[in-house]
Symmetry: C2
Subunit: 148 residues, 2 copies
């Protein structure tokens, strides 16, 4: 290595330009937390267009891997996410959104957060789960079209 | 569909058994937050062994995709993560760890969080980043072996 050679790692880690490192599918991971208390609401993915729309609009857009489609959070349920801050991690392959979750629920099951079960510590091998903060704020059957 | 057929989605989403849905590489995404204030410290990955060791020991273990190796967080830096709670999301392909970050830094750059840059809202197209909460708590050159 010489000082003449640009250090790409430094550029990604210490630079001031957003240069997302998309995976082979063109996606980065996005973690979305509740700006009021730091709870993780959901983990999803973004392609370039979702990321650009989120930065530009201040509303959360994702890319649905199952539907293979751009997805404005809340477009069906009305529970949009107003973005308070967007952060990128050191190697620019993960995004953190701090949001105000309107309508009270980020999860398609009707719960505020997708993370409504805990695995108590100290278990060896197969682990049991306990429900935590798992109250439903809406009935998904009344909000989403019927599954076939 | 008949009522005789087990509904696997319900089992994954509403069950009380940890059944992680690993991707093709055998990994789930893990989001790690500071239990004291909810800040996202890092996003990493876990294979089955890392997840089981984390649940059993109460210390954070990950799987490094770049090194292709199981990785006890803090094994080089000494900055281990004491897990306060482990949660799993609705479709069991993402884990949330709430941790006490010992030594003050989760990021290999020496910062408390890997998310030390923000993309200000309202930008269209290529976006600029601003450093936030980016003070280094240690000098990585003194903690990690030299890169070649």
């Amino acid at each position: 290595m010489t000082t003449q050679t640009p250090n790409k790692a430094d550029d990604v880690e210490e630079g001031t330009v957003l240069r997302p490192r998309f995976d082979a599918a063109g996606l980065v991971t996005c973690v979305t937390t509740d700006a009021t208390n730091g709870d993780v609401l959901m983990v999803a993915h973004m392609n370039l267009e979702a990321l650009q729309k989120t930065v530009a609009s201040g509303e959360a857009w994702y890319f649905s891997r199952s539907r293979k489609a751009l997805w404005r959070k809340g477009e069906t349920s009305g529970h949009v996410q107003k973005v308070r801050e967007i952060r990128i991690d050191c190697d620019q392959d993960a995004v953190w959104l701090r949001v105000e979750q309107t309508g009270g629920a980020a999860c398609h099951t009707g719960r505020r957060s997708c993370f409504y079960r805990a695995a108590p510590l100290g278990q060896k091998g197969a682990a049991k789960l306990e429900f935590r903060d798992a109250e439903k704020t809406f009935d998904p059957d009344k909000v989403y079209p019927a599954k076939v």
